[in-house]
C-alpha cells in the first residue's frame, strides 16, 4: 500500500509511490539540509534536544512519549559508546506505515537517526526491520549505501568530525521484538524477550550501553521538525499533539491505506479520505490505534478527533495510528477471537501472567465463538484481564487485555447472545456478505 492521501502533509511531501526514494530525490526535496545546517551553524546537542522538546514531537510507535525528553535521558558524560536504535519491527496488527516510510523516503529516517545520534552522542546505530518485509530491508540497505557514499553516514560526517555508523538489522517476525528491550535482546543475538525495567534503555540498553530507541516515523519526522522550525511543527497539529501523523486505515473502507493528516483532524474526515464505508454499510466500531487499543463504537469514534488526547479521553489509545474500521457485518466475538489468538500466539512466554493468561483468554473467547460459552465466562474474562494487566514484564500483557476489556465494555450484548444462543448475533449470511475473504475463497 502506498500513501493514498494527505492533508497538509509534512512527511509525505514529494512521495510518488516509491520511485523518488533515492538520495538525489531526497536532496532535491531539501533532504539532509537539516543535518548540514546543524554542522554549519554548530548547533549544540543541547540546543537540538531543546528544539525537539519545543516542537512537542511525540513517539509515533504507540506510547506517544515526548521524543525530546527521551533523548535528554541519555547520560551526557558516558564515553564508552552509546547507541541509537530505530524500531521498524512494525508488528501490531493494523499497522503498516513504517514500511511505507522506508519504501518512500528511507533517507528521512537515516537523516533523523544521524541527527539523533549527534544529539545524544551515539557512535553506532541500528535499524531493526521486521522479518516480513525483505524488500524494504534491502531498500534501506541501498539507501544506507548511498548515504554512506555521500558522507552522510560514517566517519567525519560532512567534515564535522562527527562519526556515526548505521546498520540495518533484519528481524524474523516475532511481534515481541517490537517491544524495545526485546528488540535489543534480538539485536544482541539472543531470544527476543523483554527485559525488566528499570533499568531503562537510556541507562542500560544495547550491549549494556545507554541507548535511545525511537519509532521509524519519529526519526523520519525529525528533519522536517528542524527544517520547518519547532513552532511551525507544533502548530501543524494541536497543542500537546504536535505535527502530522500517518494513519494506516484498514478494514471495511473503500480505500484502505496510509494517510497523513495533522493530529486533531476529525475521524470522519479521515474516514472520508479512505473512501468511506465499503458498500455504503454502517460503521459499527473502530479500533483507533492498533489491535491492542480498546475498540470504540461508531458513535464514540465519529465524535473523536484523531489525536492522543481525544482518543485517550474516549477510552482508547492513538497507539501507532492503525485505524481498523469494522462495519455492521462484523461479529465482534469473532473479531476478538482473532485478536486474542494473536496475542496468545505472540506472547514470548517469559512471564507467568502473559504466558498463561493470554492462552486462557483465547481459549475462552474461542469457546464462546464456537457455541460453548458459559454464563460465567464474561466475568471470568474480565477477572483474567485484571490479573494480567500491570503484572507483566512488558506491555504485551496489557495489549492482550485491553481489547478484551474494550470489546466486553461496548459489545457485551453480542457476547451474551453468543453464550445464550450458541451463535452470532450477526447472522452468518450477513457476515459473509461483508467479508472479502469469504468471497475470495468461495
Amino acid at each position: 500500500m502506498a500513501i493514498l492521501g494527505a492533508l497538509n502533509p509534512i512527511l509525505t511531501v514529494g512521495w510518488d509511490g516509491g520511485a523518488a526514494w533515492r538520495l538525489q530525490d531526497y536532496v532535491k526535496r531539501g533532504g539532509y539540509k537539516a543535518l548540514g545546517r546543524i554542522f554549519e551553524e554548530r548547533i549544540s546537542p543541547d540546543q537540538l534536544i531543546g528544539e525537539i522538546k519545543k516542537s512537542g514531537l511525540r513517539g509515533r510507535g504507540g506510547a506517544g512519549f515526548p521524543t525530546g525528553l527521551k533523548w535528554s535521558f541519555m547520560p551526557k558524560d558516558f564515553k564508552d559508546g552509546k547507541y541509537i536504535v530505530c524500531n521498524t519491527d512494525e508488528g501490531e496488527p493494523g499497522t503498516f506505515k513504517d514500511r511505507d516510510i522506508l519504501r518512500g523516503n528511507p533517507h528521512a529516517v537515516i537523516e533523523g537517526m544521524v541527527i539523533a545520534a549527534y544529539a545524544v552522542g551515539a557512535a553506532r546505530g541500528y535499524n531493526y526491520i521486521h522479518g516480513e518485509i525483505w524488500d524494504i530491508y534491502k531498500r534501506f540497505e541501498e539507501a544506507l549505501d548511498e548515504a554512506r557514499a555521500a558522507g552522510f553516514v560514517g566517519k567525519n560526517i560532512l567534515g564535522s568530525g562527527f562519526d556515526f555508523e548505521l546498520f540495518a538489522h533484519h528481524g524474523y517476525g516475532a511481534y515481541i521484538c517490537g517491544e524495545e528491550s526485546a528488540l535489543l535482546e534480538s539485536i544482541e543475538g539472543k531470544k527476543g524477550q523483554p527485559r525488566f525495567k528499570p533499568p531503562f534503555p537510556a541507562s542500560v540498553g544495547l550491549y549494556g550501553k545507554p541507548t535511545t530507541i525511537n519509532n521509524t516515523e519519529t526519526f523520519a519526522a525529525v528533519p522536517f521538525v528542524l527544517n520547518m522550525g519547532a513552532e511551525a511543527y507544533l502548530e501543524a497539529g494541536k497543542p500537546n499533539n504536535a505535527g502530522t501523523k500517518l494513519f494506516s486505515v484498514s478494514g471495511h473502507v473503500n480505500r484502505p491505506g496510509n494517510y497523513e493528516i495533522p493530529l486533531g483532524t476529525p475521524f470522519p474526515v479521515l474516514l472520508e479520505m479512505a473512501g468511506g464505508m465499503r458498500g455504503g454499510r454502517k460503521l459499527k466500531a473502530c479500533i483507533p490505534g492498533g489491535s491492542s487499543a480498546p475498540v470504540l463504537p461508531a458513535e464514540v469514534i465519529m465524535a473523536c478527533t484523531m489525536d492522543y488526547d481525544a482518543i485517550g479521553k474516549a477510552g482508547s489509545m492513538l497507539g501507532s495510528g492503525a485505524v481498523i474500521v469494522m462495519d455492521e457485518t462484523t461479529c465482534m466475538v469473532k473479531a476478538l477471537e482473532r485478536l486474542s489468538y494473536f496475542y496468545h500466539e505472540e506472547s514470548c512466554g517469559q512471564c507467568t501472567p502473559c504466558r498463561e493468561g493470554t492462552g486462557w483468554l483465547y481459549a475462552i473467547v474461542h469457546r464462546i465463538e464456537h457455541g460453548a460459552g458459559r454464563p460465567e465466562d464474561l466475568d471470568l474474562l474480565r477477572g483474567i484481564t485484571a490479573n494480567i494487566m500491570g503484572r507483566t514484564v512488558c506491555a504485551l500483557g496489557d495489549a492482550a487485555s485491553m481489547p478484551v476489556q474494550g470489546f466486553l465494555k461496548h459489545f457485551r450484548d453480542e457476547f451474551e447472545y453468543h453464550i445464550e444462543n450458541g451463535k452470532c448475533l450477526v447472522p452468518p449470511e450477513v457476515q459473509r456478505a461483508g467479508s472479502t475473504f469469504f468471497k475470495a475463497t468461495v
Binding site: F196, T352, W360
Partner: protein
C-alpha cells in the same frame, strides 16, 4: 544507606538493594519461584509482586530497586491479590498430580499453593501438555508439563556452570525447557538444577520413586571426593543412603555440590561391596570371620618382619581415607618398625619431601577466592578435577578478574581466561619458569638463580603481567602439577613466583584428605615413598582404599610389585577382579557415610563427620579395624574408644583449622626438561568419575559422557603422521602393557603428546601417567 519500611518495619539497606533483599533483612517472607540469591534476576514468575506506596501497580520485589523512603507492603490486599492471581496462572496448566510427583512434599509450588491457591480452579479448558525429554542418566525430565518456566535451570547453566545445557525454546505457552537437539545434561555441576527446580520438572533420575522426602532422615556429612570439603546432607532410609544433597555453607560450597558428590552414593549399594573379610587359603580367597582374618594378618605380618625385617613391609593409603584411618595406618606400620608409609599414590616426584616448611595447602581460605583479582592455575584439568573450585574462579573472571591457566591440555575450563599456556608435561616447569622470569623482569629483580637459560613466551609475560598488578592474587598448583616428574620444581617455582609478585601460592589438592594426610603424618619416615615402595618391591603391602591398577602413578609397576609380594592386604569397601587376583587378605571397610572420621580440606578446615548409616554386611569403619589390628599386633597406644579420641591425638581438640599450613620450600630452581625418552609423551587425566573407588562404581555417573571409554587424543600433526582416520584405532604401549583405543585428533593436545586417561580398566595395563608412550596403528 537507604531507609525503607517493609510491612511497618524500618530497615536500612545499602544502595542497589532490591525489595527482596530488604525483606530478607527484616525477615519478611515474599513468595517467589524464579528468584534465587545466587542467580541473576529474571523477574519472570511474578510471584513476588508487592505493593509499593505511590506505585500504580504491584512491583516484583526481586527486581525493584529500593529507593530512599520507600514503603512496601508485602501482604496488603493489593499484594496478596496480585500473588494469588499469579498463583492461579501458574496452576492452570500445571498437572496438579502431586500424589504421583516425585517432588511432592518438597515442592515450592505445592507449598505456596497452600497459601495462595484457590480451593477450586476457574480454569476449565484442556491443559497444555509438554513432551518428556531424555537428557541422560542424571536428571529426569519425564514430566515437563510441570515446568513453570522460572528459568532457574537455564540461568544456572549460563551463570554458574558456565555451559548452557538447558534453554527455553519456543514462545508463549509452548515455551519448553530443553537441551540442544540430542544433547544430554551431565556437565560436572548439572545436578544442582534438580535442587534449583522449584517443581517436579527436573528430578533426580537415580532417586526417582525410591522414597518420599518425609521418609528420609537428613544427616550431615562431608564429601570424601575432592579437596573442597563440600558439606553434604545425606538422606537415609532403612540404613540405605538414598540421596545426597548440598548442605549450604557459604564459606565452602555455597549452595552447590558437584555431580560426583551428589550421585556417587549409589556405589554404597553396589554389588561389588566387600561384605566379609577374606583370606587366601591354598591359592583361593575364602570368606572368614573378622577375628580369623585379623589373627591371620597379624601373624603373617609378624612372620615377614621377623624373617625379612620390618622394612620389607609397606603401606599405601588413599588420600580419600579419613584422617583417623591415615593416622592409624601410619601408627601401625611405624609401630612395627617400618617407615614405608605414604598416602600419595599418584605422585611420582618426592623431591620436596623434607624440604617443605609446613603442610602444603590452598594458601588461602576458599571463600577468599572470590576476592581475587588475578590467579594462575598450573597443571590442572580444572573443571573435572575441581568443579566447584572452577566455579569460584569462573565468578572471579566474570567480575573482571584475570584467570590464566598453564597446563598440559587446552581443555575448555568454561572460564573466560586472560592467558593460557599449553605444553607437554615435561615442559610444564619450563613454562612456569618463563612466568617467573618475566615476573622478575617486571619487578626489576635479578634473574632467579637457575632460570638464566629460560626464555619467557608472550603468554608467560601476559600471565606475569596479570600477577604484577595490585590487588589479591594467587598461584594454584593443580593435580597434574603434583603428579608430573617435576612436581618439586613446580612447587619451588610457584613459591618463587609468589615471592616476586606478592601472590599467594596454593595446592588445590587431589582428594578430601590431601591436606589431612600430611597432618596425620602418613608419610615415609626413613622409608620408601609411594613410588619407591613399588620400585624396590616389598614382601608385604598394606593397601587402604587404594586400587593399585587405577590409583597409582605407575599401575604397571605397582601391580607387578604386588604380584610378587608374599602378602597383600587390602582394606577396602569394594572387591574387584584385580584385587581378587593379587590380594591375600581383604578386609571390608565401611565406606563414605558409614564411618565417622575427619576430612581436612584444601584450606586446612577440619571437618569431622559421624557415620550416618550402618556399614554393609560385616564391613567395619577403618579406624576400628586398624585399632583392633593394633591390639592383635600387641602394639602400644591402641586403646581408642572413638574416632574422636584418635583425632584428638594429632589435631588439637576443637580446632576448626589445622596449624602449620605453609607452602614454603627450600629447593633450588632447576626447571630443566628431562630428555625425551623416545616415542610420544603421555598425558594422563584422571576422568572425573574414575577418580576414586566410590565414584567409579556409581551406575548413573558411569553412564555420563565423562565416563566414556578412554580415547587416545593425539595432536593433529601426530594423527596425520600416523595416517589415522576417524575410524582408526591405535595400540598404545608402555613397558610391558598396552591398550587398543579409538584415536582422535585434538588440537588441545600439545605436539608429540597423546592423551590417554588413567584410572580406567581399559588403560590399567599401562605405565607412567606422564611418561613416554608408543602409539601405532592397531
Amino acid at each position: 544507606m537507604l531507609d525503607i519500611e517493609i510491612d511497618g518495619k524500618q530497615v536500612q539497606v545499602p544502595p542497589g538493594s532490591t525489595i527482596m533483599d530488604a525483606a530478607r533483612a527484616v525477615g519478611a517472607y515474599i513468595p517467589h519461584f524464579c528468584y534465587h540469591k545466587k542467580l541473576s534476576i529474571a523477574a519472570n514468575c511474578r510471584m513476588c509482586l508487592v505493593q509499593v506506596e505511590k506505585a500504580p501497580k504491584p512491583l516484583p520485589a526481586c527486581a525493584t530497586p529500593v529507593t530512599n523512603g520507600m514503603k512496601v507492603f508485602t501482604h496488603s490486599e493489593l499484594a496478596v491479590a496480585a500473588q494469588k492471581g499469579v498463583m492461579e496462572f501458574l496452576l492452570i496448566n500445571h498437572p496438579l498430580d502431586c500424589p504421583i510427583c516425585d517432588q511432592g512434599g518438597e515442592c515450592q509450588l505445592q507449598d505456596l499453593a497452600v497459601g495462595y491457591g484457590g480451593t477450586a480452579s476457574r480454569f476449565r479448558e484442556a491443559k497444555h501438555v509438554v513432551m518428556h525429554k531424555d537428557v541422560g542418566p542424571l536428571i529426569s525430565m519425564r514430566e515437563m508439563s510441570r515446568c513453570i518456566h522460572c528459568t532457574r535451570c537455564v540461568r544456572f547453566g549460563q551463570e554458574i556452570a558456565g555451559v548452557m545445557e538447558l534453554g527455553m525454546a519456543n514462545r508463549n505457552v509452548h515455551s519448553e525447557i530443553q537441551t540442544f537437539v540430542g544433547r544430554s545434561v551431565d556437565s560436572e555441576l548439572s545436578g544442582n538444577m534438580i535442587d534449583l527446580c522449584p517443581v517436579g520438572a527436573l528430578t533426580s533420575k537415580p532417586f526417582r520413586y525410591l522414597a518420599r522426602s518425609w521418609e528420609l532422615s537428613r544427616r550431615k556429612s562431608v564429601s570424601p571426593h575432592d579437596s573442597l570439603g563440600t558439606n553434604l546432607t545425606v538422606q537415609v532410609k532403612n540404613d540405605r543412603v538414598l540421596r545426597v544433597l548440598p548442605r549450604e555453607n557459604e564459606e565452602i560450597n555455597e549452595c552447590w555440590i558437584s555431580d560426583k558428590d551428589r550421585f556417587s552414593y549409589e556405589a554404597l549399594n553396589s554389588e561389588e561391596r566387600l561384605q566379609k573379610p577374606m583370606i587366601r587359603v591354598d591359592g583361593a580367597l575364602r570368606e572368614v570371620e573378622w577375628n580369623v582374618a585379623l589373627d591371620y594378618l597379624a601373624h603373617a605380618l609378624k612372620d615377614i618382619a621377623r624373617d625379612h625385617g620390618a622394612e620389607s613391609i609397606a603401606a599405601l593409603a588413599s588420600p580419600h581415607s579419613t584422617a583417623e584411618e591415615l593416622y592409624l595406618m601410619r601408627k601401625i606400620v611405624r609401630g612395627m618398625g617400618s617407615g614405608n608409609v605414604d598416602f600419595r599414590p599418584r605422585r611420582r616426584d618426592f623431591s620436596s619431601d623434607g624440604k617443605r616448611a609446613g603442610t602444603p595447602w590452598l594458601g588461602m581460605r576458599i571463600a577468599e577466592i572470590g576476592e581475587l583479582d588475578a590467579a594462575v592455575v598450573v597443571g590442572s584439568f580444572l573443571r573435572k578435577d575441581h568443579p566447584l573450585f572452577a566455579q569460584r574462579l569462573r565468578q572471579v573472571a566474570k567480575k573482571g578478574g584475570k584467570i590464566s591457566v598453564i597446563s598440559v591440555s587446552g581443555d575448555d575450563s568454561l572460564i573466560d581466561l586472560s592467558a593460557q599456556i599449553t605444553v607437554a608435561p615435561r615442559n610444564l616447569a619450563g613454562a612456569l619458569a618463563g612466568v617467573v622470569k618475566a615476573a622478575a623482569a617486571l619487578r626489576g629483580a635479578a634473574v632467579p638463580a637457575g632460570l638464566e637459560a629460560v626464555e619467557p613466551c608472550e603468554q608467560a609475560k601476559a600471565i606475569a603481567g596479570s600477577l604484577a598488578e595490585g590487588g589479591k592474587k594467587a598461584i594454584f598448583l593443580g593435580n597434574v602439577a603434583e603428579q608430573v616428574e617435576q612436581a618439586g620444581q613446580l612447587h619451588a617455582l610457584g613459591a618463587e613466583l609468589a615471592r616476586l609478585t606478592g601472590a599467594s601460592l596454593g595446592f588445590i589438592g587431589e582428594a578430601a584428605n590431601s591436606v589431612g594426610g600430611y597432618v596425620a603424618d602418613a608419610l615415609p619416615t626413613d622409608g620408601l615413598d609411594a613410588r619407591q615402595m613399588f620400585v624396590q618391591a616389598r614382601r608385604a603391602y598394606l593397601l587402604m582404599g587404594v586400587e593399585a591398577e587405577f590409583d597409582c602413578a605407575n599401575p604397571q609397576e605397582a601391580v607387578a610389585a604386588l604380584r610378587q609380594a608374599d602378602l597383600v592386604v587390602m582394606m577396602t569397601p569394594f572387591r574387584s577382579a584385580a584385587a581378587m587376583e593379587y590380594a591375600d587378605v581383604l578386609l571390608p571397610l565401611a565406606a563414605f557415610a558409614e564411618t565417622s572420621g575427619t576430612y581436612i580440606s584444601a584450606e586446612g578446615r577440619v571437618q569431622s563427620v559421624n557415620g550416618v548409616c550402618r556399614p554393609r554386611g560385616d564391613a567395619r569403619p577403618g579406624w576400628k579395624v586398624l585399632r583392633v589390628l593394633g591390639n592383635v599386633l600387641a602394639l602400644p597406644g591402641f586403646e581408642y574408644a572413638s574416632s574422636e579420641e584418635v583425632r584428638d591425638e594429632f589435631i588439637p581438640a576443637g580446632a576448626s583449622f589445622v596449624e602449620n599450613l605453609d607452602n614454603g620450600i627450600a629447593l633450588p630452581l632447576a626447571p630443566v626438561a628431562p630428555a625425551p625418552a623416545g616415542g610420544l609423551e603421555r598425558i594422563a587425566d584422571v576422568p572425573i568419575y574414575f577418580a576414586d573407588a566410590l565414584a567409579r562404581r556409581a551406575p548413573a555417573l558411569r553412564r555420563t559422557r565423562d565416563a566414556a571409554e578412554p580415547v587416545a587424543y593425539l595432536h593433529p600433526a601426530t594423527f596425520e603422521r600416523l595416517a589415522l582416520d576417524a575410524e582408526a584405532r591405535v595400540r598404545v604401549r608402555q613397558g610391558q602393557g598396552e591398550a587398543v583405543l579409538a584415536a582422535r585428533a585434538d588440537a588441545k593436545v600439545p605436539p608429540d603428546c597423546v592423551r590417554v586417561a588413567a584410572a580406567h580398566a581399559a588403560t590399567a595395563a599401562l605405565g607412567e601417567m606422564f611418561g613416554s608412550i608408543n602409539v601405532e596403528r592397531a
